[in-house]
Symmetry: D2
Subunit: 356 residues, 4 copies
């Protein structure tokens, strides 16, 4: 069940209709969950910035590296050129090469791309190796292509799905989470949507309530067992007309939302944010006769509401990933429990929150 169905709110801004990254018009998300036998607990999540051929119609994009202990594919070209030319794939750490290869296959499937000889596949990851036989590299190119094909623009399955199938956050079962914010009309009415693959640690806070501390389950509470390592992949979409420079600034603000959940960006964390703008007028044609392009650009001083929006949506997406995930057993008999929602709700009540 959803956080807001329990009466818990994050922040002060309005969500958009689905409270999901798919509130940004044109964005589609698809999952391919891979659960087999005792030890395969992994998967793939695909984010498509628009429904068309993204190689031919690239979108402005940026990457911000919160902490770079990770294997994100494709970052330097995004940074240099300021655009994204494939769907974004999330998967497990050791399946990044397979997913990157599958994105090349995907790109080559389009007839208009038949002469393309350079593709920049973008693949993020977190490490699900505690529950999943990650060394077995059980993700295939077919799984990746299926996730892209499955992508839809409506509400998104969260928790133990796709790339979140085997992930862990704050010692509980993590996974995929999403949320959105909509700016007031007189600030442009733009939507910011966030999707996370949560797999990190720290001292869990939910809407400011010290859940981790109350449950005595947090980094440094038990030094042997509670490594804060892991990672968080964060995808940010907006329909606001931002070019790469301001998308990078937007991406950077997602870290603020992560901080409010109690994440600490530990040494071993691979925390990356990829942000893109779907504004149609600013798409970048792969081929074009003109030397210049007319763009409509949001000014620097109109950005603060967007910064707050991504901050709030990231916080909520991470918390959603915890609320939606379920207890999972996997490799070597390991079990990771879901967030104990009843206890959490009681604590929320004790701390003056929610509908308790």
């Amino acid at each position: 069940q959803n956080l807001r169905q329990y009466g818990i709110e994050i922040g002060v801004m309005e969500t958009d209709s689905l409270n999901a990254i798919t509130d940004v018009a044109g964005v589609k998300v698809g999952h391919r969950t891979i659960i087999k036998g005792d030890s395969i607990r992994t998967g793939v999540t695909a984010i498509r910035p628009h429904p068309g051929n993204i190689f031919q119609q690239k979108v402005p994009a940026a990457v911000y590296v919160g902490n770079g202990f990770g294997k994100l594919a494709g970052s330097t070209q995004i940074e240099e050129l300021g655009n994204l030319e494939t769907p974004i794939i999330l998967t497990n750490t050791l399946s990044v090469p397979t997913a990157a290869d599958a994105l090349i296959d995907y790109t080559f499937q389009f007839r208009e791309n038949r002469n393309v000889r350079s593709v920049n596949p973008v693949v993020g990851e977190t490490n699900d190796g505690y529950l999943n036989d990650i060394r077995g590299r059980h993700v295939s190119k077919e799984h990746v292509l299926a996730a892209i094909k499955n992508a839809k623009s409506d509400s998104i399955k969260q928790g133990n799905v796709g790339a979140g199938t085997g992930t862990i956050a704050f010692g509980f079962k993590g996974g995929i989470g999403t949320a959105s914010r909509k700016l007031p009309a007189d600030m442009g009415g733009y939507t910011v949507g966030v999707l996370v693959q949560s797999n990190f640690g720290g001292v869990l806070q939910i809407s400011g309530v010290p859940i981790g501390k109350e449950l005595n389950k947090y980094y440094l509470s038990d030094r042997l067992n509670e490594s804060p390592d892991g990672s968080c992949m964060i995808i940010v979409a907006t329909d606001a007309p931002l070019a790469a420079r301001n998308l990078e600034r937007l991406a950077k603000r997602a870290v603020l939302g992560l901080a409010k959940t109690g994440g600490i960006a530990s040494n071993g964390s691979g925390d990356y944010i990829i942000a893109f703008s779907t504004a149609k007028e600013n798409r970048i044609s792969h081929q074009s006769a003109n030397r210049t392009q007319e763009k409509t650009i949001l000014k620097n001083n109109a950005l603060s509401p967007l910064f707050m929006a991504v901050n709030e949506a990231t916080e909520e997406a991470i918390i959603n990933s915890l609320f939606q995930a379920q207890t999972m057993s996997g490799r070597n008999g390991h079990t990771i429990n879901e967030l104990p929602v009843d206890s959490v709700l009681k604590l929320m009540g004790k701390y003056g929150r929610g509908s308790q």
Copy 2:
């Protein structure tokens, strides 16, 4: 009165003895507060990494730019060479040049520096122009030299002092704040100290309690009056033996603490973190016969407790700056109220915190 005297705690780690940046051995802090007539409300705060001639014995250092709408002097040389060779001065935006010039004077005062012809003065700032006649540039070189001379290693005056004299945070009177954390002995027992000059906005949270929202005083609550702009200068000191690369990573984590106070790093914010290590064995002699230096370096995978320490200490230093500041009137009859501590404490109680 101090936050902790009201029974409010931030985070899960222990503070060091003074709960101040001066808990890091050798660090000294000095203020020069400048209040004159109706409209001069500004000042200078100096942080000395060690009591000696810092030009001759530089310390490893790094800068992280949270948001670069600011005028920090000295950042590129710190980044390139990984060291700091002057005290750090904080003041108002338009007095950065004067303070930088004064740091050159200060450096030239040392006899051993008599042949020095290049100095990298490091000066941070926030804009106190709402309460202070900032265009008048009322800070003199003498003020700056006085702040350095005043520097002491014991407890630090907070709130409306030095560079915090005229600053504003979350719509309340801000100023100088400080806090510290000490790692458990079996994690090295290192100290991390933080000092902030708070002058920014967002949606105030104190230990997770939504104070800004409850007081209906937050960014977007009243779009005309509550600009989130402004800035936060954050100085981080540690005795852990970190070189520049890991000091930059440490600096970056201060932003997580800022986020937990409700800061949003708005477009107009100049949020800079300067971190340095006081570990004696790693100081960098300006002159030296040897080509190489033996260093003791903390390994990457021992950093996470330090990351959490700086996160918590930054959050607490910012909240301290609010608790310690007092209502101030200044330029054009402007008045900024202090945090209404009684109301805040009631709200803390309502949300299950503090000694209420």
Copy 3:
């Protein structure tokens, strides 16, 4: 006399009419040379991106740090916001604070700026302390304001003028140099202009001819006397409609031109490039009613000719600074000889170049 008057050409592209940064329409350059007594050999050079109030009509801009052993003021705000709001001042290392303060004065002189309380002064420097009594800080605010006032859009004095009065390059007298390139009409016909303050070392090459080696005057040829340290400030102007991201890429290419003169970007060098676009349609109004701005942006794949232009113009500007400088004596009886043009021309002839 000019390089090209000796029949020496750099590169394969055409220069614009003045072969100077002032070929970019609207750009003005002014000098204030300060020579007094035996030991004052310094000055100020001002570059104005357009003739109007630049604070109110900012230009897109970027900074690239080749090597950051320098004291450039204003870099982080340019990087964050992508624009420049003051003229650029070049001077000596220890006069950066004075020049920054003068830029605040300059900005405040405009009636439209009467409510401005935040200014980002941009000041670059190199260290002229071998010939100049740099510790004396003989540059005053009046000198800086005079350089701005002197700025003209026609041909530029080079060599021992303004900020180049006391600088040294490759062991010879360096100084101010400038050059330009014009793209073919079918590539947009854009102009790229470069101005340098040369003060660095390495192994001098002129149009590929190993002058430094032939004259036995180069880094490592005589380890005691030929420090390669020093710095090069490089200002790049273009009328091509580039936003900050691509201006940074353009700035980065100036380093290639520096490399072709034999510069090595030594440890002690402060090599900074500031690039800005004068394209009127992309100026950024300080105040504006609209949230968005229509821009015309040159596409990534039209940039390579500009990259080559800045590369060639930087190489030529540095060589021009050497050809135009004259022997100078200064502090402590130090003398730095000018490039021995006759010997150089003979060597050029020996290596198949020039009109010999």
Copy 4:
């Protein structure tokens, strides 16, 4: 035949004994050349920083992005942690995923790595799609493992081998090139070795002689045919005890050498430099009981000779790649001619160089 055998020298410093990256003790290089039928012209080159298990004994490392239009795998983790934990693989653009996957296989082959669940494979590339059927992705994991296995510490095959099999530079056949420099004993006697995969354009210069211009084969000389796009991967090894921060500075100087060959770092270029130090005392154990490590670090002010060394060695390695490559025909009947050595030597003579 070798450049120096023709009497042509680059720069002023001494080469080490092999004039190859393998002059750095412990470094090994292996090739796997893949030529099949009419259209497969590609391959793999592996660089091993030391002969042991590099995952268990990581080396300090850094990446510098000259221009990021490329698909380098592994960069963000190197930047964050400052180390390298796999051999470096070079191959073609679309085979990066395969090579990355093979590096995971390689790492898993070691018994001590049997519990490893996270590996950061480092793979660079350039695009050989003009001569090679790059869309066919003909590089297999076996090819990659063979290149690693083939790695030797003696002299290196250059030109059309390994990852250089199908590449093009300045319109001529490019490929693999290598060179080295040795510092004078009184500057530490360190070795710097460089290996390049040349595949880029511009205006070719050889030791300053304008070969491209003389042969009328350069960027902008014929706009339709001579795209400067393409890329250059540059690997820098040194036995000097540098940590990551100074390795990044060293890497950055390789671009200066590239510039001196006439490279322009065009928009479409993927120019990446990876630098590592082999100094045994600074290796980073994957597992270790101690929190701190004693290191010996070369000081900042001892770096300039290394900067000049990497500059010269890069220039020479690129020119070597051209001299060693041979005419190659491939995909679609395309033929790329080798550098016309006889004509080049004549031109070198005309311009006062070489033994002519």
